[in-house]
């Protein structure tokens, strides 16, 4: 098993010309000695975890083991009761590094799809014509060009989640955190959206929580199984080939079995 290195990676060809903005980088995420307690209940103690830069990392585990909590600690939305250090590449600060995608699409029902995709810029007071153009282009690339001026309620669940993915990309953040982003979709839509996501986020650092072993195996460069025991993590599982892998890949079948047995806690990592 290859051990994950803590190197600081940048996307090809971006750092060579002048000083790169943080959106051009794909920093690793480094958690050192992280402990977290939520109203007296200890969830993590002395957790060390490294997410490799520029790769898609999947975190899988039983519900209630703290996967989502870990994502929220990294996103900076959970700070109370937190000790230890969280760094992105060489930086300690959390603002401006992460984009968030949840299981719910979280589209605002009173905004059009285009406005929803531009939500981050609007909330920071940076909404420009340039941003709108970029969002329009993104919508086209995701097959939603005819829906820019439509309210989200007019779209299917799959289309809404696609719009949510684009909103995440519009943030131009180097790290994308996903909390079971495809689990509310039907099987076919889910596969399609996984392919689209894999194509669009290439080169960024992605940490995705999922409860679906197949999803983890299709998308992850690295897969970790989390146990209920205060955030204990398995060693990295590295499926062969490059994501998105085919769902019917025979190599994935045996790995899936391995993952399931890890999830059941039969094999300790």
């Amino acid at each position: 098993m290859p051990v994950n290195s803590g190197r600081y990676r940048s996307v090809e060809g971006s750092s060579s010309n002048g000083s790169p903005g943080i959106s051009d980088l794909a920093p690793g995420i480094f958690l050192e000695n992280v402990s977290f307690a939520y109203s007296e209940k200890e969830i993590f103690r002395g957790l060390n975890f490294t997410v490799e830069g520029g790769l898609w990392t999947c975190l899988i585990g039983p519900s209630g083991c703290g996967k989502s909590t870990l994502l929220r600690i990294i996103s900076g939305t959970l700070r109370e009761g937190l000790t230890g250090s969280i760094r992105f590449g060489g930086f300690a600060r959390q603002e401006g590094f992460t984009a968030w995608m949840a299981q719910k699409d979280l589209l605002l029902p009173w905004l059009t799809v285009l406005e929803n995709v531009c939500l981050g810029a609007r909330l920071r007071g940076e909404l420009t014509e340039e941003k709108r153009c970029k969002a329009t282009m993104l919508l086209e690339s995701a097959g939603l060009s005819g829906y820019a001026q439509v309210l989200p309620s007019r779209m299917s669940g799959g289309m809404r989640q696609r719009a949510a993915l684009l909103r995440t990309l519009m943030e131009e953040r180097p790290v994308i955190l996903m909390d079971e982003p495809f689990s509310a979709l039907d099987a076919l839509t889910r596969l399609k959206l996984q392919d689209l996501a894999a194509k669009l986020v290439r080169g960024k650092t992605v940490l995705m929580v999922t409860h679906d072993p197949l999803e983890a195996l299709r998308l992850g460069h690295r897969i970790y199984v989390m146990h209920e025991n205060r955030g204990r993590l398995s060693r990295a599982i590295v499926p062969p080939g490059t994501p998105p892998r085919k769902a019917g890949d025979p190599a994935l079948a045996s790995l899936q079995e391995h993952l399931l047995s890890l999830l059941e806690g039969k094999e300790s990592a």
Binding site: W100, R122, L123
Partner: protein, 253 residues
């Protein structure tokens, strides 16, 4: 449509009313029939229009001012925690004290004119407006707020672009309640002390045993209140346009 059904119900009630009058034969000074009331309304249309105008101005100004004060209170409660601690008791007290008991005081302080009636209406609608708007803003989906936080949103932008729109459906309910109750405030104020308005006119007609004229004033008041309610309802449905869209979605799920 809603309005058609309302008209049908009203017509049914009028027929029932006429039926009761015909069958029981109550004297007209106890319960006049609908036709008598219409006749009285036509006979007194000059004074009725004058007094209805006064009451309408009171109701609309009360509704406007009460909404203004209520919305400002709710916004300050969302914006500042310490302001919330001071405003919350006021909000509860405004609901706990029966406003009718305050009417004589308000007349004493603000006089026999319109001001005391507007104050009554403001007091009566302050709670539904403030409570509905504040609760709506507070109950904005926490996941929206979390997303906004990861987006490094400015606090005021979150209020403007997420909390306020998210609160509009609840606020619309509060405003509907306010539109329905503001007339009560105005009329109670007029009963306690005034020289103008439909409430005054009704007391006056009652004292002179002009029961048909009293009923005519009552009808005008009901029409005023209902029109106001439907106007508010229509406007809020236009403003909260996405709610209708979402309701259309519902049957599928």
């Amino acid at each position: 449509m809603n309005l058609m059904r309302l008209l049908a119900v009203a017509a049914g009630l009028v027929v029932l009313w006429q039926g009761v009058v015909l069958v029981t034969g109550v004297p007209h000074f106890i319960l006049p029939g609908p036709l008598q009331v219409i006749r009285a309304a036509l006979a007194h249309q000059g004074p009725l229009a004058h007094h209805a105008g006064i009451t309408l101005v009171e109701i609309v100004s009360g509704l406007f001012l009460g909404t203004l004060v209520g919305v400002s209170s709710a916004l300050s409660m969302i914006a500042s925690r310490s302001l919330k601690r001071w405003l919350l008791p006021i909000l509860v007290v405004s609901q706990a004290i029966p406003v009718f008991a305050l009417a004589p005081l308000l007349i004493l302080w603000f006089g026999y004119g319109m001001l005391s009636k507007v104050a009554m209406a403001v007091l009566i609608i302050y709670f539904p407006i403030t409570a509905s708007f504040y609760d709506g803003m507070r109950q904005a989906d926490p996941e929206w707020l979390e997303l906004a936080k990861v987006m490094d949103a400015k606090p005021m932008a979150v209020v403007r672009h997420i909390r306020i729109p998210a609160a509009l459906p609840a606020f619309a309910s509060g405003l509907r309640v306010a539109a329905a109750t503001a007339p009560i405030g105005a009329v109670v104020g007029e009963w306690v002390g005034s020289s103008e308005g439909l409430g005054f006119y009704m007391l006056h007609a009652n004292a002179r045993m002009q029961i048909d004229a009293m009923f005519a004033a009552l009808t005008v008041l009901a029409v005023l209140a209902l029109s106001l309610y439907f106007l508010v309802d229509y406007a809020m449905n236009r403003i909260v346009f996405w709610q209708k869209e979402e309701r259309k979605e519902d049957p599928k799920t």
